[in-house]
Amino acid sequence: MRNPYLVQISWLAALAALLVALPLLVGNYALSVATLILYFAYTGQAWNVMMGFAGQLSLGHALYVGVGAYAAGSLFFHYGVGPWAGVWLAIALCVALGLVIGFLAFRFRISGVYFALLTIAFAEFTRIGFDHFAWTGGPGGMFLRVAQRDTWDVANFRGPPLMYYYAMLFLAIAAFALCAWLLRSRAGYYWQAIRENEEAAQALGINTFRWKLLAVAISAAMTAVAGVFFAFYYNNLFPEQIFHISRSIEIILGPVIGGVGTLFGPVLGAAVLTLLSDGITEVLAFAGVEMPGIKQVFYGVVLLAVVMFLPHGIWPALAKRLRL
């Protein structure tokens, strides 16, 4: 009888090998698409810690991407401080923010839809705030110096698309490994217990307040790193763009479509979404049609279909089919 773990691990190893070797197989454009997929797999995984594990629906995760991006970006812009140092400020700020939101919400017993609204409110508040924040460039945005792009300048995180691809691949694998480890640890069990039945969890000695805060903090910290990547990859930051609720929704699309609370869900969802939407844009461009907004309509339709017909996401159904 095949050991299920062995089957899973061999699939994983094959996938990892493929991803590492990918640059040898495809060109720069495909590589940038792959980088995007990995980015969404990563942020989806980070969001999943809060939602899938601890059961708290955050619709304002763009807050952490934005604050992380602006924190590291501002340090670089104003003081020339590289991202390796800047990331620590980004993480510290985002964890602090997450803890504030979490503390307020859990202390005042705000959950479900109200919690989601609270997270949206914080993100929107920050978006408008940054619009008026001159030090970070206000609504006009912040632009980071783009130096040479052919050489690998790891210290300042500048280089060819290949470097960004491997960086994001590393982050995605690290996030996956972290979440896999967390799930099997005491934290993972406690979070799932809280998610399933908070009252029963308390009766088993779990300080649910503290553990929920921990999930929020970890989720925020991970997302902050994504923000730093964002800043140094795209090199321009606009409050309207980076804090916008559409960014928050993009973050959750992967996990919701792939499967909330699972390890593979965010990865699968990100891949499906990005590939299909890119496919659609290509087909339309080929047909000579260019319509702003069509990609998002597509996202909406896919989300609708998944929520209606595969409420637990694609991965659980797929896993059952593949008997994994």
Binding site: L57, A121, E124, F125, I128, H132, Q296
Partner: protein
């Protein structure tokens, strides 16, 4: 410090706009209060109404107040259909499932509008928009006054419906007790759909009124959704008076914030208020504790 009559005018203007906001929020309050659905597509629906009014005006020179009738009717049908086809099957599913469903609908709607109408602002220019009445130091825009009047009349109508008609009472019964209503023989799914239709009608009327006051762009959709939630939560979920009161409060505070701080910062104030209310008085000003 701006002159007192400027402030007074700004306040009055805020009240009038706030009443239209209130009608929009009323729709949401009714939908959430009865069907318990968090209509995350509420603002998008309002924006569609605004576009519809604009389109009818451009094509048929129809005054928005006249356009209210066909648009409201269409919205009623749309709301009824949405509830029946999409949401009713979801009643037993967990809360965040329903939420996601409407998030998906919202995404589709707002981007469909972007595709169809493009990102540029549209508006309606009616002759009487430039007229105004003088009431002492106050200068009341005729357009704004009529918009507010329409909102109040619609709200009164809805209130009367729930208070005095049999169907209205039946709907309130469903809100209070889903199982009990079914046991008594009420066709709850039909009544839910009816309620959603009525909520949509509120949005339609509010949209037609609003189109006289602001320009339409697709991003208004999510902005109005959030605004509707702020108003409903501040005013109190399930309280019709609360929705109107909340609307007026937000309208006035937005207007004042626009005057004293900066116009773009006004929604910041609304979000700050939402956070405070969620933390300190989640049942809102006029709501009952759940």
């Amino acid at each position: 410090m701006p002159a007192l009559d400027l402030v007074a005018n700004v306040v009055v203007s805020g009240i009038l706009t706030g009443l239209v906001y209130g009608l929009m929020a009323l729709g949401l309050s009714v939908i959430f209060g009865v069907v318990r659905v968090v209509n995350f597509a509420h603002g998008e629906m309002m924006t569609i109404a605004m576009y519809a009014a604009t389109a009818l005006f451009i094509a048929l020179k129809l005054d928005p107040f006249v356009a209210m009738l066909p648009i409201a009717a269409a919205f009623f049908v749309f709301g009824y259909a949405l509830q029946t086809a999409l949401i009713n099957p979801f009643i037993t599913r967990p809360e965040h499932s329903q939420f996601m469903l409407l998030v998906a609908v919202a995404i589709i709607l707002v981007n469909a509008m972007l595709m169809i109408f493009g990102p540029d602002a549209r508006n309606v220019q009616v002759d009487y928009q430039l007229e105004s009445y003088e009431l002492g130091p106050l200068l009341l825009d005729k357009g704004r006054l009529l918009a507010a009047a329409a909102a109040v009349i619609a709200a009164a109508g809805l209130f009367a419906f729930f208070r005095y008609t049999l169907t209205g009472k039946a709907i309130r019964a469903c809100a209070d007790n889903y199982l009990g209503a079914r046991v008594v023989g009420l066709n709850v799914k039909h009544l839910y759909a009816l309620t959603f239709g009525l909520g949509a009608v509120c949005v339609a009327i509010a949209g037609c009124a609003m189109v006289l006051l602001v320009d339409v762009t697709p991003p208004l959709g999510p902005a109005y959704t959030l605004l509707a939630f702020v108003i409903v939560i501040v005013g109190g979920l399930g309280s019709m008076g609360g929705a109107l009161l909340g609307g007026v409060l937000i309208g006035v505070s937005e207007a004042l914030a626009g005057l004293f701080i900066a116009p773009s910062a006004k929604s910041m104030f609304s979000f700050g208020l939402l956070i405070l209310v969620l933390l300190l008085r989640p049942q809102g000003l006029l709501g009952r504790r759940a």
